[in-house]
Symmetry: C2
DNA sequence: TATTATAGTTACATTTTAGTAACCATTGTT
DNA sequence: AACAATGGTTACTAAAATGTAACTATAATA
């Protein structure tokens, strides 16, 4: 009986992903970018609204607590970088990672579908 | 002072959408397709796994109750049609609406990003 | 007569997510 | 001495999402 060889680190990763996302890449993606404030946060960071306080002022309905948890999740999922400066008062800036930048075409499609099908749907005479 | 004319039905719709989605087409889209089982349900319906029981057998971890609520929301949001046949035992089939079909390119992007960035990310040597 | 099949509904319990408000540390300013 | 500015954390509460199990209807079948 022939054995299959597979990089074990990669295998663990696959198992982990199947557990987390059911192995479906669409569900995986939605889980990662689908947080209540994540699209907006990613958008603002992408246009250099990149500090905690700035983000808060742009999204006054997102509480500090929510802002923190959303940012931490985005960081954990590898979409943003968090850079802390050793200053007082504290200074932290957020930037998109490559993975985060890779979202651009996807956001384009999400936006397009939303506009054409939800926000400005063609009236069916 | 000049008045702006606008179709009032359309205006009400815009107000409604801003309330529901904050006017952001990306959030709007994610809200509609982001339900726990919705991508999978839409996928199965798109490949003609189109009856309640069939869907359940494909997704055993989705309870009847969840299946029903997800299907009802998809219907309400105009992504699927529900056709009831007057038979015993009951027969219901689900199909994608045009709006639902319009999701295809978007799902393509979601899938692509998920594969390239989550499920099979290139190792950064 | 009991059972099967389909497509659900309902009540209730549990889990997850999100909101609120108070608190923290440090330095500079009034 | 008190307060502002920044970027949070923490405990507690409220609300929303989801799970579980029992129940529904009707005709055909064993």
């Amino acid at each position: 009986m022939k054995k299959i060889e597979i990089n074990s680190e990669r295998f663990d990763n696959m198992v982990e992903n199947i557990k987390k996302y059911g192995g479906c890449p669409v569900s995986a993606t939605l889980k990662i970018i689908g947080g209540k404030w994540k699209p907006l946060i990613l958008y603002f960071i992408s246009v250099d609204v990149n500090r905690f306080g700035q983000l808060q002022r742009m999204m006054p309905d997102c509480s500090k607590r929510m802002m923190t948890t959303q940012l931490r999740e985005l960081e954990k999922d590898g979409l943003i970088n968090r850079k802390v400066f050793a200053e007082v008062p504290p200074k932290v800036i957020y930037t998109l990672t490559i993975t985060g930048e890779n979202l651009r075409p996807l956001f384009g499609e999400l936006r397009k579908w939303g506009i054409e099908n939800i926000l400005e749907p063609k009236k069916k005479s």
